[in-house]
């Protein structure tokens, strides 16, 4: 639920009890005021009648009731009774229906006679006025609510505009761009604080990113240089005479180890660089051409191992990738399949629009299959492997939203790696 709707909902929830309570209170208030005023009117009428009776020239002992309202009659008992207001319903002849009536009953002593005086006021009209007033208040309240809602929506939309702009900027934010993005200011303190915080964060992140990048670059430099020295010194040593077979063998072994270290260093750096998102540039890579080229590259090796290597490559399969990573991804899968294949068996390679599959024959994995893509997990029988090839595969696949799937078929002793491309 958006902030706007949420605000409106709370506004409604708060407004409804207020409205109900307000209507009840207002109705009661109007009724009370009307009753008070009517009572006052009745009391004033009574006073007027009493005054007239005091000064009356017409003796009132004849005829019980000259008028119905006010009703004045002789009280035979002669006992005075207190003022009494009461509500009754009387039949209205004009309206042809019973109407509520407010009545004031009192007595007045004129000389030795006691009169009963009843003054009445029909309440129907007043109640209608009260109803209309209440209705008016309710309508005004509903109108006010609608107006408030509209106003609130409009204001919110205006107020939150900078916020939505910040979100859009965050969405397009890319860490690897050369200059970090700056988030706009809006003139609203809270959002300005947010954009200042975002700018600070982006700057810090960018610095860290650049630092990491420089670190990997420097690490490569610092590691490669001593390795280069070792390599060249061994080369120099090999040009000295006389040499014994033992010395040459030792140097050759040292060179092999240096080679492994170089490979390890390269693979680790590559992993770090991918993690640091340093291969952000992408282009349409024609995977069919790439697979064909690598197939050609590795064909001699497959032949050397006596493998019957069959391929099925759909033409013009392309994906948006970094070309270098695409090559690492495909070649690592191919290398893995070819080096682990049992000699003189077969290997298979398929590329379609939706997936890339490599299959080879081999004994079951010496470790659980779920460790296959972990770093430095390798077959103990092959200590010379870096144990990073498939970790790289996983890392690159994850990066491009592809999934790598491994399965082993017991009967055919088939290892199958499938790379599923996202749609």
């Amino acid at each position: 639920m958006s902030l706007l709707r949420k605000t409106l909902l709370y506004l409604m929830l708060a407004a409804i009890p207020v409205a109900l309570g307000g209507v009840w209170f207002f109705g009661t208030l109007i009724n009370r005021v009307i009753r008070y005023e009517v009572d006052e009117q009745l009391s004033s009428d009574l006073a007027f009648i009493q005054h007239q009776l005091q000064t009356a020239r017409v003796p009132l002992n004849r005829g019980h009731h000259l008028l119905d309202n006010p009703y004045i009659a002789l009280l035979p008992s002669g006992h005075p009774i207190g003022r009494m207001y009461s509500d009754t319903v009387e039949f209205d002849r004009r309206e042809q229906e019973p109407v509520p009536v407010r009545r004031l009953t009192a007595t007045a002593q004129i000389g030795d006679r006691m009169y009963l005086i009843v003054v009445r006021q029909a309440m129907g009209e007043f109640e209608e006025i009260a109803h209309l007033l209440s209705l008016g208040v309710m309508v005004a309240f509903v109108l006010l609510l609608i107006l408030l809602t509209l106003l609130n929506g409009w204001i919110s939309r205006r107020l939150w505009q900078p916020f939505y702009r910040l979100i859009d900027q965050l969405r397009t934010y890319r860490l690897n761009e050369r200059t970090p993005d700056t988030f706009d200011r809006s003139g609203i303190d809270e959002f300005d604080q947010l954009s200042v915080a975002l700018n600070d964060m982006s700057l810090t992140l960018h610095r860290q990113y650049v630092g990491q990048k420089e670190f990997t670059d420097h690490a490569a430099h610092e590691m490669q240089t001593p390795l280069a020295v070792v390599t060249t010194q061994l080369d120099r040593l090999l040009t000295t005479e006389p040499l014994t077979e033992e010395q040459v063998n030792l140097m050759e072994q040292a060179q092999q180890s240096v080679r492994r270290l170089v490979q390890l260093n390269k693979s680790l750096l590559l992993l770090t660089k991918i993690e640091n998102n340093q291969f952000a540039d992408q282009q349409r890579v024609n995977l069919s051409e790439l697979v064909n080229r690598l197939h050609l590259n590795f064909a001699a090796y497959a032949q050397h191992r006596g493998l019957n290597w069959t391929t099925l490559i759909e033409p013009d399969v392309s994906r948006l990738m970094n070309p270098y990573l695409a090559e690492v991804l495909i070649s690592n899968l191919l290398k893995n399949s070819l080096t682990h294949a049992l000699p003189s068996t077969f290997a298979q390679l398929d590329l379609t629009n939706s997936q890339f599959t490599v299959t080879n024959v081999g004994p079951p994995l010496p470790f659980p299959a779920d460790q296959l893509f972990d770093r430095f997990v390798k077959n103990p029988a092959r200590p010379e492997s870096t144990g990073l090839g498939l970790a790289l595969v996983k890392q690159i696949a994850d990066r491009y939203g592809m999934t790598v799937d491994y399965c082993y078929d017991e009967r055919g002793r088939l290892h199958t790696f499938t790379l599923f491309f996202p749609n």
């Binding site: 090999l238 040459v248 050759e252 092999q256 590259n297 090796y301």
Partner: protein
């Protein structure tokens, strides 16, 4: 042939210098950007080998200086960074080759020879070694006027052997030159052996004496003697 070698690591510089001097080149070395820049200004070289990661400046600027002076030198970049950007920039600026640290000296030697050949003979001169004649333009190899068909890898191997003739080459050095990054395959040495065996057989079938000798069980020596 005069070569300028620019490298800030002293032991590496010395090793490269000695190795290349043994190949008969006249070597000039520079350990800093400033010295290299001065040397480039004052003299002409047939080939310049530059490490682009110098402490006092980017080696790529040396290449720009060289290109601005319009000199005919061949150019090889050495970089510790296996970074595609540097490689592309270097090649765009007009460098002839790019080599990543660490490398084997025989490989550097082979690359220098190849660059010099392309620069000064347009790659059209024939490479002769004993009975073997290689035409680098068409990749044709003949032994005593008889054409032999080599695969690409075998051809590269042969050029590498000829460039480093009379030198002991370890399997590691050969394998790295021939396979480069694809070398981390488990049994690459067996694989290399297959290639060498095939090359040797093809040469000998065409009547070439066996120039390729195994030394100490771990290396090879290509020699007419």
């Amino acid at each position: 042939m005069k070569i300028l070698l620019v490298e800030d690591e002293p032991s590496l510089l010395l090793a490269m210098r000695q190795y290349l001097e043994e190949e008969g080149y006249v070597m000039t070395t520079a350990a800093t950007f400033a010295k290299a820049s001065m040397a480039l200004n004052d003299y002409d070289y047939d080939c310049v080998v530059v490490d682009i990661g110098l402490p006092d400046g980017n080696g790529l600027n040396l290449i720009r200086q060289l290109k601005a002076a319009d000199k005919e030198s061949g150019l090889i970049i050495i970089s510790a960074k296996d970074s595609l950007d540097d490689k592309l920039t270097g090649l765009e600026l007009g460098s002839d080759d790019y080599i990543t640290k660490p490398f084997h000296l025989p490989e550097l030697n082979a690359r220098i020879k190849s660059v010099l050949r392309r620069r000064f003979f347009g790659g059209s001169n024939l490479i002769r070694y004993g009975e073997i004649v290689v035409d680098p333009l068409s990749h044709r190899v003949t032994v005593a006027d008889q054409r032999i068909e080599l695969t690409e890898k075998e051809y590269n191997l042969l050029l590498f052997f000829i460039a480093n003739s009379n030198r002991l080459l370890t399997k590691s050095a050969i394998a790295e030159y021939v396979w480069g990054d694809h070398m981390d395959m488990a049994d690459s040495h067996d694989f290399l052996y297959t290639h060498i065996k095939n090359l040797r057989r093809k040469l000998m079938d065409a009547g070439c004496p066996d120039y390729l000798k195994t030394r100490y069980g771990a290396g090879y020596l290509f020699t007419t003697t």
